[in-house]
């Protein structure tokens, strides 16, 4: 297992081998509030490669779920997408009309929403719900459908008998696995999993995480895994993007980011993760969040940063590629050679 992970990681490093499945560029999402315009996502850009799992981490309110909703174009008023592009397999989702968009959703782009297990219809049997979703998107004869349903359940490790059960007859972990089966039912290109294991106990969490990994590997599908549990991210993600206050502050391969986190926020995030391999004092990060309606000049992390410098209060640090595939937005690394800044603008 470890070897495959390493191999995947090496492969991910060369963009020629693994072209991008999803390209998010310059995405800005704002909410109009009575007290002014709130910028929930500030010129976000990242990509997800074919077969890759990108972990999106950060504290609540940092814009993780807004990112997912933005990609799916599910932002509702008073929120709006102000600028940017979202290209899935070279198709700009933000330019599609409603009918084409509906076709893309689920068939190409599936969502496992937060608390997905509560999204099942309580008065429909599991099999009927799965079948309903599939036939809404493509005509499938009954006998093929039945075969497909059993395949799907088998893929997520559930017995076929589950098809004839109602959601309330299943445990939380089983419901969550049904939701994974629904997400992959139409063989999507990208799955967005928003906190897929929160509210599950640790053993069930592991079973669900294993299921996600297995399904991803079997189908070769790309995934965005949203969550704040660094342990789970370490186990599942190939690359990690760290968000803070509506900005991406660091993107790097998972091995590098855990070994040598660059951004002070990423460091605090990793240090604050309790471990069962020895007691340590957990790093406490005090300090206020910036006001997203009226952000101060300079860095978004300035109020909480242990290494804050005068220039952090005036100049906004852009996301820069310090090493190939290693992006950080921090003035601490200003004197280091800046690789591929042009590359960033003209990539792909």
């Amino acid at each position: 297992m470890l070897n495959t992970e390493n191999l995947l990681n090496t492969l991910n490093r060369s963009p020629e081998i693994k072209p991008s499945m999803l390209e998010v560029r310059d995405l800005t999402i704002q909410y109009d509030t009575p007290k002014g315009v709130l910028t929930a996502m500030n010129h976000i850009g990242f990509s997800v490669k074919r077969g890759e799992t990108l972990g999106l981490v950060g504290e609540s309110g940092c814009g993780k779920s807004t990112t997912a909703m933005g990609i799916l174009r599910l932002i509702q008023a008073p929120g709006r997408i102000v600028s940017g592009s979202v290209r899935l397999d070279n198709e700009d989702l933000l330019a599609l009309n409603d009918r084409d968009l509906r076709d893309v959703r689920w068939r190409k782009l599936a969502l496992i929403p937060q608390g997905a297990m509560n999204s099942l219809n309580p008065i429909m049997k599991v099999g009927a719900q799965l079948a309903d979703g599939i036939s809404a998107h493509e005509y499938t004869p009954r006998y093929i459908l039945n075969e497909r349903l059993s395949e799907l359940l088998d893929m997520v490790g559930l017995p076929e008998s589950v098809l004839n059960l109602f959601p309330h007859e299943l445990s939380g972990g089983m419901k969550q696995r049904v939701c994974i089966a629904m997400a992959v039912a139409l063989d999507p290109m990208l799955i967005i999993a928003d906190e897929p294991t929160s509210a599950l106990d640790v053993v069930t969490q592991r079973v669900v995480a294993q299921t996600l990994r297995k399904v991803k590997e079997m189908l070769g599908v790309s995934m965005i895994l949203i969550g704040h549990d660094m342990g789970l991210q370490a186990q599942l993600a190939d690359r990690i993007a760290v968000m803070y206050a509506g900005n991406i502050v660091e993107i790097a391969p998972v091995l590098d980011i855990f070994k040598n986190p660059m951004h002070p926020y990423t460091r605090l995030l990793i240090q604050a993760t309790p471990s069962i391999k020895g007691r340590k004092s957990l790093k406490v990060t005090e300090g206020a969040m910036i006001d997203l309606r009226n952000p101060p000049p300079g860095c978004v992390f300035q109020y909480r940063c242990p290494s804050v410098m005068p220039m952090c209060r005036s100049i906004f640090p852009p996301l820069r590629e310090l090493e190939p595939e290693y992006w950080v937005a921090c003035h601490l690394y200003n004197d280091q050679p800046q690789i591929g800044i042009d590359n960033a603008q003209h990539a792909n």
Partner: protein
């Protein structure tokens, strides 16, 4: 600091040798469902400790917390506070107990009345327990309590709950508990709904209250890694039974019960170079075995003896170790070992005993 600890000590229960909290064979049965079975625990008066009750949903950990807080009546067994059964408390003693045993809950969004400013919960506590003789004294006490959790009165008190962050709300709950100078705080999943950095803050406050203010905690959680960081003793529950207990670090470093082994192994390690080694399987048809060991259907070591009755807690402490460490599993039953050592011991354990 006001001298309230002494003036409020109840004369009838002032024997220092008595444990602060003792639970004897607590059992709670709802209809046909045993939520908690024969649970026993002791928390000493001194020094202050953090005692963890760990387990998955349905293990009985919240039932236990509710029992201690008086929200659930035990079907059988006793809860003794400083040597006296809480069920026998008169009105004054109950009031006293309500003050000295405080609670923090999981969801800091649900415990506030959205129509009142935050100040209200503090004012209520002060009025209800007559903590201050005048307004200034009351204000000073509130300010003192807020300072312990790293907040300032003018920042938060005149706000409404929805204007505060989740972390501020949870810290205010701790400040409110601290305001009453309790001996014990029952913390039911206090960090399961907050972020990593905030979780560290809350755990840090708990440690501070234990070290500097001698407040003990009954820490209810499903998260073994936070317990590992701050806890003294741990009791792991599974379907109402205590399956393993002992010093937290000892138990998590070398778990003995197959369930606790599974739990520890399932914790995702925040290190991508340490991958989960092999997939685990959970039977989808979870029918607990009605008479024998509750873990029978999921256990890799199960044998016929496990079907007879729930195993007792057998000591698994290393000989030179002074701490108590025991597991409710026939693998560690000294009699079973004599009866049939081959089936009941893994190779590794046979080696260490031969």
């Amino acid at each position: 600091m006001l001298n309230t600890q002494t003036e409020l000590t109840v004369p009838t229960v002032s024997i220092a040798a008595e444990p602060l909290l003792e639970i004897r064979d607590a059992t709670v049965i709802y209809g046909a469902q045993t939520a908690l079975h024969a649970f026993s625990l002791k928390i000493p008066q001194q020094p202050a400790t953090i005692t963890t009750i760990a387990g998955e949903s349905g293990s009985g950990k919240t039932t236990l917390a509710n029992g201690v807080l008086g929200f659930t009546v035990l079907t059988s067994g006793q809860i003794l506070y400083m040597g006296q059964d809480v069920a026998t408390f008169d009105r004054a003693q109950q009031h006293q107990y309500r003050r000295e045993v405080q609670a923090i809950f999981q969801d800091p969004y649900e415990v506030y009345n959205p129509f009142y400013r935050v100040r209200h919960i503090f004012d209520m506590a002060i009025r209800n327990f007559q903590l201050a003789t005048d307004k200034d004294q009351g204000r000073a006490r509130i300010e003192d309590a807020l300072q312990v959790v790293g907040l300032r009165g003018d920042e938060v008190l005149s706000k409404y709950p929805h204007q505060l962050s989740g972390g501020q709300r949870q810290r205010l709950m701790i400040a409110r508990a601290y305001l009453l100078k309790p001996h014990l705080i029952v913390a039911d999943e206090p960090v399961s709904m907050v972020d990593a950095s905030l979780r560290a803050t809350i755990l840090d406050i708990m440690l501070k209250l234990r070290e500097e203010y001698s407040i003990s905690f009954l820490y209810i959680t499903h998260d073994l890694s936070t317990a590992y960081q701050i806890g003294n003793d741990i009791y792991v529950l599974y379907r109402g039974e205590t399956v393993e207990k002992g010093d937290t670090v000892t138990v998590i470093d070398s778990p003995k019960h197959p369930y606790v082994q599974l739990l520890v192994e399932s914790i995702p390690v925040a290190d991508p170079t340490v991958q989960w080694n092999k997939p685990i399987e959970v039977p989808t048809d979870n029918k607990p075995n009605p008479h024998g060991c509750r873990f029978y259907d999921r256990c890799v070591h199960h044998t016929d003896i496990c079907l007879t009755r729930q195993p007792d807690l057998y000591s698994v402490a290393v000989a030179d170790h002074t701490t108590d460490h025991s597991a409710a599993c026939y693998l560690y039953d000294p009699q079973a070992m004599m009866l049939d050592p081959v089936t009941h011991f893994t190779t590794e354990q046979k080696d260490s005993h031969s």
